[in-house]
Symmetry: C2
Subunit: 334 residues, 2 copies
Amino acid sequence: MEKQTVTIYDVAREAGVSMATVSRVVNGNPNVKPSTRKKVFAVIDELNYRPNAVARGLASKKTTTVGVLIPDVTNLYYSALARGIDDIATMYKYNIILANSDENEQKEVKVLNTLLAKQVDGVIYMGTKITDELRDEFERSRTPVVLAGTVDPQKELASVNIDYGKALKQSVDLLVKNGNKNIAFVYKSDEENVNDALRLAAYREALEENGLTYNEDYVIQEANSYKNGQAVYDRLANLDATAAVFSDDELAVGFLNVAINNGLKVPEDFEIVTSNNSKLAKLSRPELSTVVQPLYDIGAVAMRLLTKLMNKEDDISDKHVVLPYHIDNKGTTK
Amino acid sequence: MEKQTVTIYDVAREAGVSMATVSRVVNGNPNVKPSTRKKVFAVIDELNYRPNAVARGLASKKTTTVGVLIPDVTNLYYSALARGIDDIATMYKYNIILANSDENEQKEVKVLNTLLAKQVDGVIYMGTKITDELRDEFERSRTPVVLAGTVDPQKELASVNIDYGKALKQSVDLLVKNGNKNIAFVYKSDEENVNDALRLAAYREALEENGLTYNEDYVIQEANSYKNGQAVYDRLANLDATAAVFSDDELAVGFLNVAINNGLKVPEDFEIVTSNNSKLAKLSRPELSTVVQPLYDIGAVAMRLLTKLMNKEDDISDKHVVLPYHIDNKGTTK
DNA sequence: CTGAAAGCGCTAACAA
DNA sequence: TTGTTAGCGCTTTCAG
């Protein structure tokens, strides 16, 4: 025999009250006489009643779930954000539908559409670039959106970030202060990455402010994979660079390991600053000097901001949150 | 003006057909005349109609979403599984609600209940131990469940794993073959971890089969954190151990780094084998010798198995999948 | 091949 | 404080 699902109606009948009253009890509505509330709870317990969130969602037009677009959960940068998002979501009684997008535009649009079809109350986007198509979808659906760890150049969408450009500039400044003249900038080969575009611009600016000339040979793009450390090393070995700033920790560790294998002394012969302070930065030997981003907080604040948007709170001071960071001078800088 | 949502009814009216027909078209039911199908699609396009999955879920009692319980997304072991899960889920048109449990029993039960309230079609559980309370919930809800990377000692619940005990035994065998007599076993301090219990038993057995005596001083429990590498080192330094098997990569890297800082030569003076082959194993220097688990596949196969269960397919050959593994003799073994 | 109609389980006015 | 009654938007028999 198929197990019969217990509905609000069963509880009402059994408790001798109306559905509405049961609904009130379940939803914590104070307008219920304590004695009937007690009785209802007893029946709920007895029947093992569990409210059907789908039915509730249809009736109330709220699902208490938010969609989260993430490039890749196995990426330590994004998983740290995701953790912050989920914790705050849980705190506010939301669940998250997590979907990997691989930074693929087609996939992002497709996933967003199924999230919207599922009537999520809000969306958190992590990625490299908001395409126009995505932006259009965001606008058409009246669903609140917050970007986490992702900059919107058009300043339209709510977002939580650090000042990536400024952080990179300071990284370069540090390397210049340490006496380096030839400083490379290494980033993922994804040309559409807005954060990296900001970093690249800042890199150039920082060089010029320090009286150094920008040379595009020193700008290196590689696929974001540990393996590519070798490729980066080969490129750098042909230059007379003495330092490099990496936008990606995994790439930085990959390079570091290869460099050391090749007898390069870090930081004596070569200095490195990386940008994300993911777990990897701590695990490498020597420990990577890095921009310390508040990764968990970026996610957490983004989710908090989203709750405000979903609640239509109007005291939202700023939709473009910029969190603080600092540079940690560890083992790969003098 | 609040944007009006377009419903199936609007499409029906506009296309001059009934809701039922629109529903058939949307769901790919073949019993629709091509010409009317075409017309309906045209209207859908024109009106920008998007089926409401919540309503659909209520009517059909299927949500095409599965719940995923994960201890912590930022843990590379679990995030690798999660990635496999999501990819296969996407392939079969499911979405995943991901919830971090921190291996906390209370939280697991609570989360499971909200997942069930949301009418997920299935659940994937990752964790350290199925408590009785959790098992009861699984049974009462008639929702299919698959354990990923988690052993059910009672062999009731469907699961996907490797043979953790056998892998550990082989690790010990390798270390013995390399001449080590005093081999430690280091694992997370969580006493409830079933996988580690299997490993511990196998550790003991392996020693005995190799004619070595088991000594509990060589069994070390530490919280699973990179920082604890120092604590592990201090404990091991007081023993005359020449090798250790770690159940956790992060702990292994932590120890390795501390050991090297203290002038220990690895693998000459001390050999290490770790168990998960997470990204970390590749990034450490020297590279960790490790049991190579097919992490992504464990997740992927678990999700595939779950789809079969949700479909009530009865040709499920085995609910307890055991995937192959091998040991990779890298830089921390001779 | 198509339509009518009865729910799915719950919320939210509106009355009382 | 409680009950009545419409829906929410869709699927799914059952007829035809």
